[in-house]
């Protein structure tokens, strides 16, 4: 129906009934803020935040019951939620690590730095590589078979070679973290280029664009949605392989924390490390998603309209 209305609105005054949409024009600060407030209130009015809380409550309840109340056979060894949370929030933790100890933040910082470096490197190399793989069939013929052969080798299998190849403990860990990210980014970028409707490329040539201009105005922005999907996967697997690397070597980092607390039988600390990983990983992934939405206004606005209709 909306289609028709605006078609008929024709010459008079084209309006998109923006009243129903919190229109966020680019560069319009007030509009964007309005959108954020609007989204937040809409979210709070929907059942979603409350369902989320129920989900968390169920999870914690299950953990509490199995470990602390019923003391089920295999679960009795595990630290219960009460232990973990008191330890985590205690100013004087019994195993020496809580939100009050500077060491805790040192672990987070070191891991975060490694992931950032690896992720940025993977993005800086994976995106261009993926773009060219998708753009040039000949380049793909050369490179892709090698890529596909290396890709199934898990980061853990690279550990010995990484230690031989790179000096110290820092570089091998960053390298391992980089690997998995790099594969995810490259592959998604390539698929992104291949997913672009041929009409867009043809239209650009029709309008007089030359090959480099088609690359810049069609291929890069057209692959963007896939690239950002890839980056979200990439940042996730970066944390994944980071921990693998940190368990093998290194003196700080969340993976290292988890591994040492295990060997020193400090189980609550181990679980604190795990939960922290989950939180930090979620935050980085959300940051990538937000960056993507910011860079792809066109997509965010399309999806917003889709949701309204």
């Amino acid at each position: 129906m909306k289609d028709l209305q605006s078609a008929f609105a024709g010459d008079v005054n084209v309006s998109l009934s923006p009243a129903s949409l919190p229109a966020a024009k680019p560069g319009d600060g007030a509009g964007r803020q309005e959108t954020v407030v609007f989204r937040l209130t809409r979210w709070l009015r929907s059942p979603r935040p409350y369902l989320m809380l129920v989900g968390f409550a169920l999870f914690l309840g299950f953990w509490y019951l199995t470990v602390e109340v019923w003391k089920l056979p295999r679960f009795a060894q595990m630290p219960g939620p009460t232990d973990v949370i008191t330890e985590w929030l205690s100013p004087d933790p019994s195993y020496g690590l809580s939100i009050y100890s500077p060491e805790y933040y040192q672990h987070i910082w070191v891991s975060w730095r490694r992931v950032s470096i690896a992720f940025l490197l993977a993005t800086a190399t994976g995106v261009p590589l993926g773009l060219f793989l998708g753009w040039s069939q000949r380049f793909k013929d050369y490179v892709f078979p090698v890529f596909e052969l290396l890709r199934p080798i898990p980061p853990l299998a690279w550990v010995p070679l990484a230690i031989i190849m790179f000096q110290g403990s820092e570089t091998p860990i960053v390298f391992l973290t980089f690997l998995a990210s790099f594969y995810a980014t490259t592959l998604n970028t390539m698929l992104g280029v291949e997913s672009i409707d041929a009409s867009f490329v043809r239209a650009a040539y029709c309008l007089g664009a030359k090959r480099p201009q088609v690359f810049r105005h069609v291929i890069v922005p057209g692959a963007m949605p896939f690239i950002f999907t890839g980056l979200q996967i990439s940042v996730g697997v970066a944390w994944f392989s980071l921990v693998a690397g940190e368990m093998v070597s290194g003196q700080y980092g969340l993976g290292y924390l988890i591994n040492t607390s295990y060997t020193m039988v400090q189980y609550p600390t181990m679980v604190i490390g795990m939960i922290t990983l989950g939180l930090v990983g979620y935050l980085t992934s959300a940051a990538v998603r937000m960056l993507g939405n910011y860079l792809m206004q066109w997509r965010a606005r399309e999806l917003a309209i889709g949701a309204e209709r």
């Binding site: 289609d3 605006s6 009409s199 007089g208 030359k210 069609v218 057209g222 066109w298 997509r299």
Partner: protein, 296 residues
């Protein structure tokens, strides 16, 4: 540059070419003995076979035929997306493709408006419309945006500039796409069933808008459809194609003067043209059906 609407109703370049009511004499396409075989020579599919007809300059030529008959193949050959196997296609006196030159170079003298639309979803409307002259280096960004504003205003598409294509209706998108094409002062517009996905009410609005644009610019239009009413309403010439392999079966000259509006749909003459063509088209549709062609 200053685009005053009072100066002319067409774009300045076109206005210079078309003083008064005189017809433009560029943009004629001559298709001669064109053959297109997909796949290897022996076992290939013959999509177009010995196809010959003219698309006169400054007229609307509509090509009608059953789905999958090869009309799009012909359009792609003119646009330069596909090669041809033999024959020649000329634009005015320039050989687009022919012996020794199987594929034309795509370029802004022949602009395609695609079946599913090809506005870049990642560019705003104004950036889409101003794209051509900027990448060709014909106008600066500022000039091109100014001209794009003028083109949009002329087609009654104000206030859409900073929207993205995904935010406007599909009918609007088609009109913006035609404005984007006309920005480049093309000799020929190639339209590949552009209104296929629209509902019939929106379609009729689109037809009138297209005819209005045509009356203003007198650009040669090559229009593909399988909708007969659409063909006769829009076309100065209607070329009815046989089912695959595609070649002209009947060429009809629609002698209804421009400007046309929707009242002619019920006119007696219009019904007569329809009757004259419907049988030929139906025959081909039956053949196509028997050959197992389906709607895509």
């Amino acid at each position: 540059m200053n685009y005053e609407p009072a100066r002319s109703r067409g774009s300045p370049d076109l206005a210079a070419n078309a003083p008064g009511a005189q017809e433009r004499r560029t943009g004629a396409i001559r298709i001669a003995n064109v053959v297109k075989i997909y796949g290897s020579e022996g076992a290939g599919i013959r999509a177009v076979d010995d196809c010959t007809f003219d698309v006169p300059a400054g007229k609307i030529t509509v090509v009608v035929g059953p789905s999958g008959c090869g009309k799009t193949t012909l359009l792609n050959a003119i646009a330069g997306f596909h090669s041809i196997s033999s024959g020649t296609i000329y634009l005015d006196d320039t050989l687009l493709c022919g012996p020794g030159r199987p594929q034309a170079d795509p370029g802004p003298d022949r602009i395609v408006v695609f079946q599913n639309g090809a506005l870049f979803p990642w560019k705003t409307i104004i950036d889409n419309v101003s794209f051509g002259p900027i990448v060709q280096g014909r106008l600066t960004r500022k000039e091109s945006i100014e001209k794009a504003r003028f083109m949009l205003a002329e087609s009654g598409l104000r206030n859409l500039e900073s929207n993205y294509p995904g935010e406007i209706s599909s009918g609007m998108r088609r009109r913006v796409e035609i404005a984007r094409a006309l920005m480049n002062d093309p000799k020929v517009l190639l339209l590949d069933e552009p209104y296929r996905a629209l509902d019939s009410l929106t379609k009729s609005v689109m037809h009138e808008a297209l005819l209005e644009t045509f009356d203003r610019n007198q650009v040669t239009i090559f229009f593909i459809t399988h909708d007969l009413e659409e063909a006769i309403f829009l076309g100065d010439h209607v070329v009815i194609m046989t089912t695959r392999p595609c070649r002209p079966k009947k060429i009809l000259t629609v002698d209804i003067p421009h400007p046309r509006d929707y009242s002619i749909l019920t006119a007696k003459r219009f019904r007569e043209y329809l009757d004259e063509t419907v049988e030929a088209v139906h025959e081909e549709a039956l053949k196509a059906f028997a050959a197992g062609e389906r709607e895509r």
